[in-house]
Amino acid sequence: MTKQIPPIADSKAWRGYDHQPTRGELQITSESDIVVARQAIRQVCATLNFGLTDVTRIVTAASELTRNIYQYAGCGVMRWRALVEGAKTGLEVTFEDNGPGIPDVEQALERGFSTSRGMGLGLPGAKRLMDEMTVQSTAGKGTIVQIRKWVK
């Protein structure tokens, strides 16, 4: 069953989540958490003045990256925080797992490369949708993917 995402203002309702309006995290442990992650990111974006298309970009990237966690590592965590840099504001989302790691990050970022039965669009797709993306991965230890989008 899908966990319901409580409204952001209702901080007491965020029992299972470490959440404040500008930062939060969500454990990814099951397939249904992909939907929960999408809803969480959509809600956070709503507080940050992103346009609808950018919200869709960030939510889609989060969907791809949480699915990668579930598919390759089984479980992991998604963390987000609002960014302020001078007059610019934005959102940073980090996806961390202790899974098998990506042996060749360069290759994984190529479109059409997939080790599962996917389309090989997840990681390169997320990169295209975001302003910035970094991937750190150690074989056997895990992967950290960090994405950023600035409010236009």
């Binding site: 999408r38 939510v59 889609t60 699915r67 669009l121 797709g125 295209r128």
Partner: protein, 130 residues
């Protein structure tokens, strides 16, 4: 969310399937099975997939839709994907997603109009390059 809240309506020899707004992966997979079963049971000639409420079209969803289109085609059915939101179309193009051999329409009305016309000659599935 389970497969039972996916609406599959039969209108003459066309199946109208309304995809729920934010389906999880098992629901998307169940949708495919439900569509194919319904096609056989109702002897349907065509399929209209209404995705007008869908807000996130990621690579998994796109793959299942394009597979379903292909499977329906193997069973002799034509598929029209209707109602893609503008922002979803932007993201699908940026991601390089393809819906395989699906025909597309602005909305469900246009999809039914399209089905009154003869099917176009099959083209190889194109990848949208951005």
């Amino acid at each position: 969310m389970a497969a039972d809240n996916i609406s599959v309506l039969k209108l003459h020899d066309v199946l109208l399937v309304t995809v729920p707004p934010d389906p999880d992966d098992p629901t998307v997979t169940a949708l495919q099975e439900k569509i194919l079963q319904a096609m056989m049971r109702h002897d349907a000639r065509a399929l209209v997939l209404d995705i007008s409420t869908v807000q996130t079209l990621d690579s998994f969803f796109a793959r299942i839709v394009s597979e379903t289109v292909q499977m329906a085609a193997l069973m002799g059915g034509r598929t029209v994907v209707a109602g893609m939101k503008p922002n979803v179309a932007v993201i699908a193009t940026q991601l390089g997603l393809t819906l395989g051999q699906a025909e597309t329409a602005l909305d469900v009305d246009r999809a039914f109009d399209l089905l009154r016309m003869p099917a176009p000659a099959p083209l190889p599935a194109k990848r949208l390059e951005s």
